[in-house]
């Protein structure tokens, strides 16, 4: 938790997340070739693009999972990519939430323990963490499933549990990478509906990576990643 103290504001900004000329390679293969992106607070942004365009890599850089080879990442004006591994871990745990394509629940834990995990890792008492976890089961319409393990959940149920885990710590930013990718259309829409409703109610910023237009249509704005660069389809009217 002390790691947070070392985060200082490096630049004044209205944006909660910013990428400046971000370059990232996987070995010899370039993934990002100078990506720029700015995400406003409370915005739900869809990051679209074909397979292999670099959109997931961009999300991983924005979230501090990957460190760019060149360029800068800012979170609320604070430089994120120059933080130590521990500082970035702390930031991810305390300030960011994540949902991935395949729920990625811990199979040994019950659903409610999975949801409580970010709180437990953040040092909250077990009873309090489980209490807050259970509130999310109600909120996402999955109450009754708290005691199940991931093997006993359907795909849609598991993804709602994963969404609850992504939101339980009241993150500033939720990073969602193809969150409906493994679901059928109807279940996918239910998950998006829940995600968007919760984010709007709580003012959570969402960075949503998807290649599906019907999923992107839940966002307020979209950008395209092509060949490792970001292009806005229309000018950002709110840009300063």
């Amino acid at each position: 938790m002390n790691d947070k103290a070392s985060l200082v504001v490096d630049r004044r900004t209205d944006y909660v997340i910013e990428a400046r000329d971000v370059v990232f390679d996987f070995g010899e293969t370039p993934a990002l070739r100078g990506a720029n992106l700015s995400v406003r607070e409370g915005e739900i942004l869809a990051v679209m693009g074909p397979s292999g365009s670099g959109k997931s890599t961009l999300l991983h850089c924005l979230a501090g999972i990957l460190v760019p080879k060149r360029g800068e990442i800012y979170f609320s004006g604070r430089r994120l990519d120059t933080l130590s591994d521990n500082e970035r871990s702390a930031l991810r745990r305390d300030t960011f939430g994540f949902v991935f394509q395949f729920g990625q629940l811990v199979p040994e834990l019950t659903a409610e323990e999975n949801v409580a995990l970010p709180l437990l890792l953040g040092g909250l008492r077990r009873s309090e963490a489980l209490g807050r976890s259970r509130e999310w089961f109600k909120r996402l319409g999955i109450d009754g499933l708290e005691g199940r393990r991931s093997g006993e959940l359907s795909g849609g149920q598991a993804q709602r549990v994963a969404l609850a885990r992504g939101l339980v710590a009241d993150p500033k930013v939720l990073f969602a990478d193809e969150p409906t990718g493994s679901l059928d259309s109807l279940t996918g829409e239910l998950v998006m509906e829940l995600l968007v409703t919760a984010a709007r109610q709580d003012g959570t910023t969402v960075v949503l990576v998807t290649h599906e237009p019907r999923v992107a249509a839940y966002a307020g704005r979209e950008v395209m990643v092509r060949d490792g660069r970001v292009s806005s389809l229309v000018p950002d009217m709110h840009a300063p």
Partner: protein, 174 residues
């Protein structure tokens, strides 16, 4: 499908006879529905009246088709504006989208930029329908879904076309 604007686009390449315009129109845009000669000449007369094209001198020779039409600066402007505008995002617009892409490639314009503009217009409409769906009855949602799935099909075509632009440009040039 806008016949007058498509003919204007074809005329931007070079001044042409009505016969040439009909031939090119049919081979690119009218495969299932060729353009009648009467419509070609009536359209050219209207475009000429509106100052968008101008007929050349009557050339000596046989047959009725002895005037070559050229696009005017006003006509060019009119075409340019049309080409850059996204088509109203409704289902079943493939032919207009198709015509705009082919004309852009034929005339060396940025087809990619046009496709981006169209993609943005489609996504904006999809956002509106999604919001409608979220706030209204199941029947409204069903109707919105019908629109959403058709717009998504258009978008898949737009993505596929964008991915193929270099080879399409070659095909149109040949």
């Amino acid at each position: 499908m806008s016949v007058p604007l498509t003919l204007l686009g074809l005329l931007e390449r070079e001044p042409s006879y009505g016969y040439d315009l009909k031939r090119d129109y049919d081979s690119y845009f009218g495969r299932s529905k060729p353009l009648p000669f009467g419509q070609v000449y009536a359209t050219l007369a209207r475009l000429s009246r509106d100052g968008l094209v101008e007929p050349g001198e009557v050339e000596p020779g046989d047959g009725p088709d002895r005037k070559r039409y050229a696009i005017t600066p006003v006509g060019k402007q009119e075409f340019e504006t049309w080409l850059g505008e996204p088509v109203e995002p409704e289902p079943h617009l493939q032919t207009v989208l198709f015509a705009k892409v082919v004309l852009a490639l034929m005339l060396g314009r940025s087809a990619e930029q046009y496709l981006d503009t169209q993609r943005a217009a489609h996504l904006q409409r999809m956002r509106e329908l999604t919001e409608l769906k979220r706030q209204n009855s199941l029947i409204d949602a069903l109707l919105a879904d019908h629109g959403l799935f058709h717009l998504e099909a258009d978008l898949r075509w737009i993505d596929m076309t964008a991915a193929r632009l270099p080879s399409l440009a070659e095909a149109v040039a040949s």
